[in-house]
């Protein structure tokens, strides 16, 4: 009875998953009394009414769908029928472009805010007002000015990734220990070298925390943005499958979105681990 904590956790996880899948299977597979009805009407009502089977797919249906998607994730059968893999690539691509642009803006600006008390006060009101705005509220403005739905989604990702990174960078930079800065001062290290050799490594763990929050938000927002503007992407795929009444595909997408989000987060967690130093 000396299983490691990790093992015990894994066993409970598996049990919970099993219980959930079992309950799901039983809940959607249950047969309720069917009504006797006119065969033509029964055709219209579909399988739900005639066989007492729920329209909600069971875990086995979803499993089968996942397998078919995995078997051919990149098919293209027309503008509105592309494989889930292609849709994911669109979404990840948009998130990456918007996110990297945000990194390029947020980190330098965060540095300036963190290093200059004047700039901190000057920019604070703008940040305070813009930060709580839902990124989707920018969408109409983006569509109007940019006139391209894909680029507008990228812009929305850019906006929503900006704030956590900027605020964390400023916070990390402002909080660099005085004694480390004094080391640089007594060694007559110039401002630029000081920024890269002292402030950046000292603030890196805090900056990475901001980057991790941002990627999480960006992945949340991209689904909503693509639902709104349509065309391509996993968000559009979910909405399209809802319109097709393919609940199996919707559930599959939810799973896939979750897994990709987790991977993005894990990548940044790993980066964070790389720059974290023990004291």
């Amino acid at each position: 009875m000396t299983l490691s904590l990790r093992m015990r956790g894994a066993i409970v996880s598996l049990l919970l998953l099993g219980a959930f899948l079992g309950a799901w299977h039983l809940a959607v597979g249950g047969v309720s009394a069917t009504q006797v009805m006119d065969p033509e009407y029964a055709k219209l009502m579909g399988i739900t009414a005639t066989q007492g089977k729920s329209a909600m797919p069971g875990p086995l249906d979803v499993g089968r769908t996942i397998l078919t998607h995995l078997a051919d994730p990149f098919y293209v059968k027309g503008a509105n029928d592309k494989g889930i893999g292609i849709q994911l690539i669109y979404s990840i691509g948009r998130v990456m472009v918007g996110y990297i642009l945000a990194v390029l803006v947020a980190i330098p600006v965060g540095f300036v805010i963190g290093m200059s008390p004047v700039m901190n006060r000057a920019l604070d009101p703008f940040i305070q007002i813009l930060k709580p705005v839902s990124p989707l509220a920018w969408m109409p403005l983006a569509l109007y000015t940019i006139k391209d739905s894909g680029i507008s989604s990228i812009f929305v990702i850019f906006i929503c990734s900006l704030w956590p990174m900027m605020i964390n960078t400023a916070f990390g930079v402002a909080g660099v220990r005085k004694e480390w800065l004094n080391v640089a001062l007594t060694l007559e290290v110039g401002t630029l070298r000081r920024a890269f050799t002292i402030i950046l490594p000292a603030a890196a763990p805090t900056i990475l925390t901001g980057m991790r929050i941002s990627i999480g938000i960006a992945w949340l927002v991209i689904v909503a943005a693509e639902m709104l503007v349509g065309g391509t992407g996993i968000g559009y795929f979910v909405w399209n499958e809802w319109n097709n009444l393919s609940i199996t595909n919707v559930i599959t997408s939810i799973l896939v979105i979750g897994v990709v989000g987790m991977l993005l987060d894990q990548i940044l967690a790993w980066c964070q681990h790389l720059v974290t130093f023990p004291e």
Partner: protein, 289 residues
């Protein structure tokens, strides 16, 4: 005749506070000769660190000036190395990285190999050869302080400013490090301004011991010339015939006279030339009651 290197000329430091300005000290005068080891003793809050920061160029005096080699201090300089109270190593760099950072700041265009060679040499000097690849978090307090000393030494400064460098160490480590610090400073001809709380440390290390009264408005009460011979050995100083006279004088100062001398300085007290105390048995010492 010794050559004057540092000259503290009528320096004052005032900090803005809630109820007006507080004057840490004012009209402070002191000269330190080249190659001299000066220890400063005084109670917490009397302004020892403040003075060190001004000497380092990290802070500027409210009045007066400090001259080094005849030139007024305008800011930090690589000629004045600081050994910080809290060692202040950069935790994301290794031991070698920390020392090499200082070396490459001193010799900006030196090739990597030279930077590394100088850093390794300094690390070996403080007895840490073999620990170059370790991070500060993997080192004991004594080893961290050694790295701090190596970093200061590596840039070949003319002046070392040390803020209670050994106060956080156990007695044994402290003794060893004091011995090494003294050897290194003598070999490299360092001029040292060192703050300490430890009377024995001051007696072992210092050529002169500066006694500061309590703050605010602290003064340099006296400057005690260390009567112990230059070849004194760590752990043996209490066998010296002058040892107890010096020690008692310093302890008396810390216990009672540090307050008395601030509030009622002797009638002939001159800020510019604080009394010089020699306890070598030849000059009689007048003790305040």
């Amino acid at each position: 005749m010794a050559e004057k290197l540092i000259s503290i000329d009528g320096v004052a430091k005032r900090f803005p506070g809630a109820g007006g300005e507080t004057t840490v000290f004012e009209d402070l005068w002191l000269r330190i000769d080249r190659g001299e080891f000066v220890c400063v003793i005084g109670h917490s809050g009397c302004g020892k660190t403040t003075l060190l920061n001004i000497l380092a160029g990290l802070d500027s005096p409210s009045e007066g000036a400090i001259l080094v080699g005849g030139k007024e201090i305008q800011g930090p300089s690589l000629d004045r190395a600081v050994i910080f109270q809290g060692h202040a190593l950069l935790p994301w760099l290794t031991v070698l990285g920390n020392v090499a950072y200082a070396v490459s700041s001193r010799w900006r265009s030196a090739p990597r190999s030279e930077v590394e060679a100088r850093a390794r040499k300094a690390i070996a000097t403080v007895g840490l050869a073999g620990a170059e690849g370790k991070r500060p978090s993997e080192l004991s307090g004594g080893m961290k302080q050694r790295v701090g000393i190596a970093r200061a030494l590596a840039i070949e400064p003319t002046i070392m400013l040390m803020d209670e460098p050994f106060s956080a160490l156990d007695a044994l480590t402290r003794g060893t490090l004091q011995e090494e610090a003294r050897r290194i400073c003598r070999e490299t001809g360092q001029t040292v301004y060192m703050i300490t709380h430890d009377v024995d440390e001051a007696i072992y290390l210092a050529d002169r011991i500066v006694l500061m009264t309590n703050g605010p408005r602290a003064r340099i009460a006296e400057v005690v010339v260390n009567p112990l011979p230059a070849d004194r050995r760590q752990g043996q100083i209490h066998h010296d015939p002058h040892y107890y006279a010096v020690r008692n004088h310093l302890i008396d100062f810390l216990v009672s006279r540090s307050v008395i001398l601030r509030d009622t300085p002797p009638p002939d007290y001159d800020q510019r030339n604080p009394p010089v105390i020699r306890l070598d048995g030849r000059t009689p010492v007048a003790h305040a009651a």
